[in-house]
Symmetry: C2
Subunit: 139 residues, 2 copies
């Protein structure tokens, strides 16, 4: 099982909670908030406490199995399975759905910026906002 391997390879014990949380994230195409994870797990009769959800997410984030992200207009953090590889997000302002964009239009720009500013650039984060086709219809 991939998920158990993910855990073991990173020196994390394979427990019901961790496998369940990592599993949900791995199968979701959307970043998920901590409270949503908590409720989804409860629905599956996997009872765990809020502290465990947060501690698990922290452990998984530390080991880079999971990415933590925040988007403008959201007060809480979101978590997603770390599928490696650079990604941007297209966020629907109507339904809050998040689409991953794998193509990066900023290749080369970091190099230009480095020359201009003398900063050592280590990465960037691009979020694009708009309305998905569904939300355009209903308004």
């Amino acid at each position: 099982m991939d998920i158990v391997d993910d855990l073991k390879r990173n020196g994390l014990k394979n427990t019901k909670c961790r496998a369940a949380i990592l599993g949900i994230l791995e199968q979701s195409d959307q970043p998920v908030a901590a409270d949503r994870l908590f409720h989804e797990l409860n629905e599956k009769n996997i009872m765990l406490s809020f502290s465990t959800v947060y501690r698990t997410l922290e452990a998984l984030t530390d080991k880079k199995l999971v990415k933590k992200l925040t988007i403008a207009g959201e007060d809480k953090a979101l978590f997603e399975y770390n599928r490696k590889g650079h990604r941007h997000y297209l966020i629907c302002l109507g339904c809050k759905k998040i689409l991953s964009i794998e193509h990066c239009p900023l290749k080369g720009y970091e190099e230009i910026l480095k020359k201009e500013t003398d900063y050592a650039i280590s990465g960037h984060k691009l979020d694009i906002y708009g309305y998905c086709p569904d939300c355009q219809k209903h308004e």
Copy 2:
């Protein structure tokens, strides 16, 4: 006084608190967090409560005099004087200093994305992370 005009033009009463908060933001080249504003004002012997700081920031944000933003790795919201015009941020991972970048390398990209996804694109947010010259030296 520009700041008083800003307030009046937007139907906001000109009060000590609002002028002080807007003034600090206007003179800062960095986005500022609510608690930092609170402390800076106290140092200037302008005593006001936390609720007022938040309520004032909310009013100023609603009127678009101020922009509210959140950056990855920061738990609290930051606020900056709205200097109009599109901006990106270059954030130092060492000292957390934020540099404004006025040039936008994404002209045209939104149009391409619109065709690819059928989303109505309304904007984007680009944060670039790195280390400023000072922080590069001290490490």
